[in-house]
């Protein structure tokens, strides 16, 4: 049976991991290659890099990071952040990324998603969906798409948008609840389940993981095909292996 995936996510700026990853015995806490190797050794099913570089140079550095990781880590690598052109996509894939995650550009230029998936195949195209709950208390739940880290509303309905992006060629959706991101209160399970039910492609749940039960909930209640988390793995609270054992105990198929 197909395993549910656990995907650690690393924020990288100017080629360095930020948000202070803390591992015992790590020589260089900012080195993406060393951290990626560690996650691979712990049994991560994939690794996602989010490039939050502010500069053009930072993005160039990201290509080198991807090259170095791809030479040493033989599991799928996804890179997101600032991807706007088919040329950006190609360069990342040629550097060794397996998938790219398109965020703001999907909202501002939806045809870019179509163009990119036509050129490189939808299996390489992840569309990131950043959604916030916009319904009032007591109303049927509604979520809308926000860009710029949740600051800028677009008016797009999240469920409709998810369907549209799959029609445009997204091979997978990375769904982040902007209400939960950074709160450690768990995924917005209703949002995840609604989107997972609405589309045929796999859904990665993201935003809000604070403990291992949140991961199992993401799969069992949120119907996610994969769960993405950052801080619970970075600070040595839990290893990816522990997370998988926890999921296995809850009856979830995982790769152990």
């Amino acid at each position: 049976m197909l395993a549910k995936r656990i995907i650690p996510c690393l924020d990288v700026a100017e080629g360095r991991v930020v948000k202070g990853v803390q591992f015992l015995g790590l020589r260089d806490a900012g080195d993406p290659v060393e951290i990626a190797r560690r996650y691979d050794a712990e049994g991560a099913d994939e690794i996602t890099f989010l490039d939050i570089s502010a500069s053009h140079e930072g993005r160039e550095t990201m290509l080198h990071v991807v090259e170095q990781v791809a030479e040493q880590v033989f599991i799928p690598l996804t890179v997101g952040g600032g991807i706007r052109t088919v040329e950006d996509v190609r360069r990342l894939l040629n550097a060794g990324a397996d998938k790219v995650s398109i965020n703001t550009a999907a909202v501002t230029h939806p045809d870019f998603v179509r163009e990119a998936s036509d050129k490189v195949g939808s299996q390489c195209i992840v569309v990131a969906i950043d959604a916030k709950r916009v319904s009032a208390e007591g109303e049927p739940p509604r979520w809308a798409i926000f860009t710029h880290g949740g600051r800028k509303p677009t008016g797009l309905d999240a469920i409709e948008w998810a369907r549209t992006m799959v029609d445009y060629g997204a091979g997978e959706l990375l769904v982040t609840s902007m209400d939960r991101d950074g709160t450690r209160a768990g995924f917005d399970l209703e949002l995840m389940a609604r989107i997972s039910d609405a589309v045929e492609v796999p859904v990665i749940a993201s935003g809000g993981v604070g403990n291992l039960d949140h991961l199992t909930d993401g799969v069992l209640k949120g119907k996610a095909d994969a769960v993405l988390a950052a801080s619970i793995f970075h600070f040595g609270e839990y290893t990816v292996h522990q997370a998988k054992e926890h999921m296995a105990k809850a009856g979830i198929e995982v790769r152990l």
Partner: protein, 215 residues
């Protein structure tokens, strides 16, 4: 003596760098890994790795445009040959993809879409593409399975799968909805639907096994 050379066939479709890096990682000292689009290199290579991603029609068009079809068919008759993902599918006669695409016809059989509304054993919805780590049951012993436990998980990403017309081609079986053939082999050719270059230890082991295989 000439150094042994593995040719990784480049026809503009997919993650060649990943494939080449993984092979380099497990290659014995002195073995050269060459990513190439030249038919001559295929003729001179000791082994061929034929990867691929994307759509069947584009793959066939690119192979034709680079005049690689004859060189590939010739190589598959004479030297150890490993197809990966789309590089497995286009070995068959025909694919349903893109409204029907004729393929290389090395093996009789079809490439079929998984189907919409696919369900698992407990009635759960199965997503398309089939993406992630799934188990492979070894249909029979083979040198590429050396040291790999039966049922080991490998990384898959695909929406179509092969359905060989001759059941004895099957080398590996995977469950996703109904079971499908996830690896095939005959004579000096082996091919896998999953991505060994992205399947951690087990995948590297399989690639190493391929480099040592002398059919």
């Amino acid at each position: 003596m000439n150094q042994p050379m593995v040719a990784v066939v480049d026809y503009g479709m997919g993650n060649l760098r990943s494939v080449a890096k993984a092979i380099e990682h497990v290659a014995p000292a002195g073995m050269t890994v060459r990513v190439t689009e030249h038919p001559d290199d295929l003729a001179n290579a000791d082994r061929i790795v034929f990867p691929g991603q994307g759509a069947a029609r584009d793959c066939m068009l690119e192979l034709g445009r680079r005049e690689l079809r004859d060189a590939l068919l010739e190589a598959a008759r004479s030297k150890p040959f490993l197809g990966i993902c789309m590089g497995m599918q286009v070995l068959m006669s025909h694919s349903e993809e893109n409204g029907g695409t004729d393929c290389l016809g090395m093996f009789p059989g079809e490439v079929r879409f998984f189907g919409h509304g696919l369900k698992g054993p407990e009635g759960e919805k199965l997503k398309i593409p089939h993406m992630g780590w799934n188990g492979v049951r070894q249909a029979r012993p083979h040198p590429i399975w050396e040291g790999i436990p039966d049922g080991e998980r490998f990384y898959f990403v695909h929406s179509y799968h092969v359905a060989p017309a001759e059941p004895d081609l099957a080398l590996g079986i995977t469950d996703y909805g109904p079971p499908f053939v996830s690896a095939i082999a005959r004579d000096n050719v082996a091919a896998v639907q999953f991505h060994p270059e992205k399947s951690a230890e087990a995948g590297l082991r399989l690639l190493g096994n391929f480099l040592r295989w002398n059919p």
